[in-house]
């Protein structure tokens, strides 16, 4: 036992990509384990230190009755809860089921559907418990994760901005792909965090980091329509990784006929 803060990493309905971002911090990993105890992190070690935990990182959305109960246990043993990734902060790609009949999916996908006990919806963690901080992205940016952990350790606000992806395009010198190449891009309504990766490689933004602080999808959507994007495609673009985030959800429903 040490007096270092204890970190726990919890998985709900997710692909594990976000929590693995912590292990992707190859150059910084020794600094991380020097500053905190990885008290509960099954992807990293079978060793387990009992709670309570100073900081819990929660990945994934709530999709089963079991998880809906378990998230309250996590809250109960955690001083601070930070949700990481699009699943935990917005319901993730699996929230597509929120617009469909889950029983239909179950009957198609599973040979023995009797064993499946799934909720009608996939919902973000903040729908179930109080959350201290939400880190966006599908997947999250490992440098932002380190910043959140450092900010938690140093008892300060993380340096993470909620402005649009456009800011990051300009910071890295990428010319607007929508203006310059007529490509539909979700950047103007999407939360920064990826460093404007896709536009830097001549692709429009896919909205992986969810809604920015200000979202005017009615205006952007109308411009997309002028670029020849069909309403169905607008719905699909908005309902990819963060479809159930309120701003994207409401906007997508406008284009659904």
């Amino acid at each position: 036992m040490t007096d270092r803060p204890k970190l726990a990493v919890w998985k709900f309905a997710s692909c594990d990509g976000c929590q693995l971002s912590l292990l992707d911090c190859e150059d910084e990993l020794l600094d991380v384990v020097g500053a905190i105890d990885l008290a509960y992190f099954p992807e990293a070690t079978r060793d387990e230190i009992e709670g309570p935990y100073d900081l819990s990182l929660v990945e994934g959305s709530v999709t089963t009755p079991h998880d809906a109960a378990r998230i309250h246990e996590v809250r109960g043993v955690s001083k601070a809860v930070v949700t990481i990734g699009a699943c935990a902060t917005a319901g993730g790609v699996q929230s597509l089921k929120n617009w469909a009949n889950v029983d239909d999916f179950i009957s198609i996908v599973y040979a023995e559907p009797d064993y499946i006990d799934s909720l009608e919806t996939s919902t973000p963690i903040s729908d179930h418990i109080d959350v201290d901080y939400e880190l966006r992205g599908c997947p999250i940016n490992k440098y932002q994760l380190l910043e959140v952990v450092a900010a938690f350790l140093q008892k300060r606000t993380p340096n993470i901005s909620a402005h649009s992806v456009c800011v990051d395009c300009k910071l890295r010198g990428t010319a607007c792909v929508m203006v310059g190449q007529g490509m539909p891009c979700l950047g103007p309504v999407t939360h920064a965090g990826c460093g404007a990766l896709c536009p830097a490689y001549n692709r429009g933004c896919y909205g992986c980091y969810g809604p920015a602080e200000t979202v005017n999808m009615a205006s952007l959507g109308s411009w997309w329509q002028d670029l020849g994007v069909a309403d169905d495609d607008l719905v699909r673009a908005l309902r990819t990784f963060n479809g159930y985030a309120p701003e994207f959800r409401e906007a997508s429903e406008v284009y659904e006929h």
Binding site: E147, A150, N159, L171, A175, V179
Partner: protein, 372 residues
Amino acid sequence: MTGQVLERETFGHLFAELNKMGFTLIGPTVRDKTIVYDELHSVDELPIGWTDEQDGGSYRLRRRDDEALFGYVVGSQSWKKYLFPPRSVLFEIGKVGDALTFSEPERSSQPRAFIGVRACELAAIKIQDQVFLGSGHVDRTYQHNREEIFTVAVNCAVAGGTCFCVSMETGPECNAGYDLVVTEVIDEGIHEFVIEAGSDAGQKVLAALPGRPAVDEDQAHVAAIVADTAAHMGRTLNTSSVREVLYAGRESTHWDDVAEVCLACTNCTLVCPTCFCSTTEDVASLDGSTATRSRRWDSCFSLEFSALHGSPVRSSTKARYRQWMTHKLAGWQDQFGSSGCVGCGRCITWCPVGIDITKTTAAIRADSEVLG
């Protein structure tokens, strides 16, 4: 001063001469279907034979029917990225025991030649000089970046679809603020460059170039080219009493109309060659032993920009747009003694939804006249 005329075949001597003097050359080049500013190693890297079609929310490169070196206007980038970079380290803090140490980044010599600076951009640099150097506080990062620059300006031979430098009285002719000014002349088998000096350093370079002295006919070519460009501005902005018009029109319903379209994405401010707002960020190592304070571009369209005691002062898009435009065209005059707009048209072209500062101003003016 007497000008020199260089043939297309010998224009490369200008680059060679500047290289010989130790300058890193920076100028326009084509990247990702737009024209950007980047390091140049030869004339061949210029956007030869390209032009740009610009309108609200739209920019497209098109082939010209000649091999002009400067046959386009400005792209989304401006010289701001070199003088007031998107990110810069202000200082670093180290912690040993209880003692803190502060250190500024090392500033090394970086002689640079800016190639192809347009009249509106000279005006923008002059405005940022006033902001960063001439307003009572000298910004050391900007001051350092502004040193050792050799400016090769270019008189625009075409006007872009969103250009309105004539309205802002900043162009298209370059009048001051350069070491050399180039006018490209393409006419009936002629492809040459009339080059004039605007400084002693420019005169020295000019004297080393293998040209012929400019004659009256060359000067007449230059005057005709500039006049033709001036006659083809894509936009106009009526600047008459614009300060009073915007102040009087602060409650105009037209701000609501703009806010309905505005994405608050910040593009207009970040492509603007005079917008100078920034924020500071502190990044500390996990063990708290070192920290870096940096500055990065920010925008009055971001919510954090006006956040005081926990919440933003300008929470609506309407308030943010009105703040930006009123500051640019009106408040700037009170603050810095000039307009903050040079008429380059970037904010119109690079707005993803084509919001047009000239149209908004005209609409507010119409409202102000009604409101009296």
